[in-house]
């Protein structure tokens, strides 16, 4: 029973990280049909933003306030990644709408440059971010199973992001415009919505969430210039499995991959587990080729 709870928690924890990484992709890929391979590098930027916030706190703030740097690091990571996303959209992505495969290659190039830039600025070795003291330790449940606070914090952060995303997309004016543009660009433009502005905002928000994901990843281990590349392909798999256009699909996809991954890795080993998950995904796509949740449409492509 304890083992079961532990495995369940591990699965949930992996799912939450995957979800946080994939959430930004679900927006840029699911809504805008842009394959942003530089998403991993935006995660890396978020992580380094957290690292810089920590260093600033060490240098300029009294030591007793240090533990609260993380509270500030989340919005800072979001903000920096948001701005970089905005620049990226204005400088490159907007020329690539309607050419998803080309956007994949171009953003891969951008990712390569950003990675090398990070290596030049921060050095190739990984740097450690000291997590705040209030996240050390864990909660003991069911007599002996330890649930680390860091993992619980990440789960809470994901839920907060999801709620914020939901409110933004489905309950705000900006979000309504966004959905309108994604559903029918010409009609939305005719009704007076500035589609350029909406595109820029949407891409920047997707990037900003990548920044938050990077901030969360600093809790789990040291960070380096190639941090994002470990997560990017898994995150794309989440989007493919979950289907595009609805948040709930992404949630289902992340939970599915996270849970099955933990389960298979427990039964076999790490490398065989991944193979089994991949086989399961391909098998699942036989049944539902466009993922868990598909937008109903009459258009052909």
């Amino acid at each position: 029973m304890e083992l079961f709870v532990l495995q369940l928690f591990n699965g949930l924890s992996i799912s939450s990280i995957l979800l946080l990484v994939a959430l930004g992709l679900a927006i840029t890929f699911g809504l805008m049909k842009v394959i942003n391979m530089a998403h991993g590098e935006l995660i890396m930027i978020g992580a380094y933003a957290t690292y810089l916030t920590q260093n600033l706190f060490i240098s300029y703030m009294p030591a007793e306030l240090f533990d609260w740097y993380f509270v500030l690091a989340v919005p800072v990571s979001f903000g920096i990644a948001f701005l970089i996303g905005m620049v990226l959209e204005a400088g490159l992505i907007r020329f690539l709408y309607g050419r998803p495969l080309d956007s994949l290659l171009a953003t891969w190039g951008v990712g390569l440059v950003l990675q090398q830039l990070a290596r030049t600025i921060f050095g190739a070795p990984n740097v450690a971010v000291k997590s705040p003291a209030w996240l050390d330790g864990g909660m003991v449940v069911m007599g002996g199973t330890l649930l680390p606070y860091k993992r619980l914090f990440i789960i809470a952060l994901v839920i907060a992001c999801l709620v914020a995303m939901y409110l933004y997309i489905y309950r705000s004016n900006e979000g309504r415009r966004m959905r309108a543009v994604m559903q029918n660009r010409e009609m939305a433009a005719c009704l007076g919505i500035s589609t350029r502005r909406v595109d820029r905002m949407t891409f920047a928000i997707g990037s900003g969430i990548a920044g938050i994901a990077g901030c969360a990843l600093t809790l789990l281990g040291p960070i380096g210039p190639s941090l994002g590349t470990y997560y990017i392909v898994d995150a794309f798999m989440v989007v493919v499995l979950g289907g595009v256009g609805k948040l709930v699909g992404t949630i289902l996809g992340a939970t599915g991959i996270g849970m099955f991954n933990t389960m298979f890795e427990y039964w076999t080993n790490a490398s065989l587990g991944k193979v089994l998950v991949f086989v399961c995904i391909v098998a699942f796509l036989q049944w539902k080729p466009s993922g868990f949740v598909a937008m109903r449409t009459r258009s052909l492509d």
Binding site: I35, G109, L112, V113, Q115, V233, I281, Q286
Partner: protein
């Protein structure tokens, strides 16, 4: 006779191919042994690029998994070479990992013919499996691309994880002979170079035949309008699966030749980054033209070997920038420049435009001013043509 009606341009192209082939086969006469070995490696890469071009340039399906097909071919040849070098004993890395006897599937690679056949068949069958299950369900475009990338990740983790059977991160290395001939001797290397050059020529002609045939026409039709092809009554999934399989087999062939020249294969040579680099070669050379893809692979690798050791950091910046520039400004690659050169690259046409006012609406204010006085005439001539 068809050749009697050839235009001078076609004769020039034929002459160019003849010269290129002659240079390719005569290279050992005037190139040092070290450079020859490098060139041979680049030729192997050019073969993958041709395979990749078949599926990306001609069918419009981007595969980021060709590193794996290349690598599986390479591993097949490496296993054969390793068994020959071990001379009936257990390969060294297996005894380090505590294996007592040769795993059953390694025995398949003991005869040379079987190893070569498997080097072609394993990548082709893997591609057939993935292609069948995805194209059948009309999973295509970016979804397919992401699946191929996931395939890369799982194959590399599998190769790294199963150290006792695959040599893990170190890969398979330490060969001595091929069919009894020493791999280290310059004579063997020269012969292997010619074999690779012949393979490149053979694959090139095969791809040319394929793309020029009816089959190739359907492939291009699928690229340009898959649904129309379906409505006409073709089954695109069948064509896509076949070409993906062929393309993977070609990559496997290239991998086998690569191992013979380089003498090592490890998971780092077939991961995500090498796979996407292969795509870059095709993109730069020109997708949809065979010669562009092959030359792109050779030139990019030549540039990489020249610059990446001297400026490792600068090289990565350069490569990243190249991805962006090629996609945004040269979607058809360098070969596209020759097919339809943009006006700023063709002085004759530019001059012509200035004199005659051109026919398009493009051009700066000066051009437009110069064009203005002929406007009436050119519209009339356009009308005449339309009638």
């Amino acid at each position: 006779m068809a050749w009697r009606q050839w235009t001078p341009r076609q004769w020039w192209i034929l002459g160019g191919y003849a010269v290129a082939t002659a240079v390719l086969f005569a290279a050992p006469l005037f190139v040092s042994d070290f450079r020859l070995n490098l060139l041979a490696k680049f030729l192997a890469f050019a073969i993958v690029a041709l395979g990749l071009d078949l599926i990306w340039g001609y069918t419009g399906i981007l595969s980021l998994g060709h590193g794996i097909f290349f690598g599986l071919g390479a591993y097949a040849m490496a296993m054969y070479l390793k068994l020959e070098a071990s001379g009936g004993k257990l390969p060294d890395f297996m005894s380090w990992s505590g294996l007592k006897e040769l795993p059953l599937f390694w025995k398949l690679f003991e005869p040379f013919g079987a190893a070569v056949a498997l080097g072609l068949l394993i990548p082709a069958l893997l591609a057939l499996g993935l292609g069948f299950f995805t194209f059948r369900n009309r999973i295509r475009g970016v979804y397919f691309t992401i699946l191929t990338q996931a395939l890369v990740i799982i194959v590399t983790t599998l190769l790294v994880g199963q150290q006792a059977f695959t040599g893990g991160t170190n890969g398979v290395t330490g060969y001595s002979t091929l069919l009894g001939y020493s791999l280290a001797s310059p004579d063997t290397k020269r012969v292997l170079y010619w074999v690779t050059a012949a393979a490149l020529l053979g694959v090139f002609l095969f791809c040319r035949f394929l793309t020029g045939s009816r089959f190739g026409k359907v492939l291009r039709a699928i690229r340009d309008g898959e649904n129309r092809v379906r409505f006409i009554g073709y089954n695109p999934a069948l064509y896509q699966t076949v070409i993906f399989t062929v393309s993977a087999g070609i990559a496997g062939l290239a991998g086998m030749l690569f191992v013979l020249h380089v003498g090592i294969i490890s998971p780092s040579m077939l991961g995500i980054v090498p796979s996407i680099e292969m795509v870059l070669w095709v993109a730069i050379g020109g997708r949809g033209t065979l010669i562009g893809a092959a030359l792109g692979a050779i030139l990019m690798n030549w540039a990489k070997s020249e610059f990446s050791t001297a400026y490792p950091e600068g090289w990565l910046f350069f490569m990243g920038a190249l991805f962006v520039i090629v996609v945004v400004f040269l979607p058809k690659g360098v070969a596209g420049l020759f097919q339809s050169p943009p006006p700023w690259l063709n002085p004759g046409k530019l001059l012509d435009r200035v004199r005659n006012g051109g026919s398009g609406t493009r051009g700066g204010p000066l051009l437009r001013l110069l064009r203005k006085k002929d406007n009436g005439k050119s519209i009339q001539s356009v009308r005449r043509q339309a009638e």
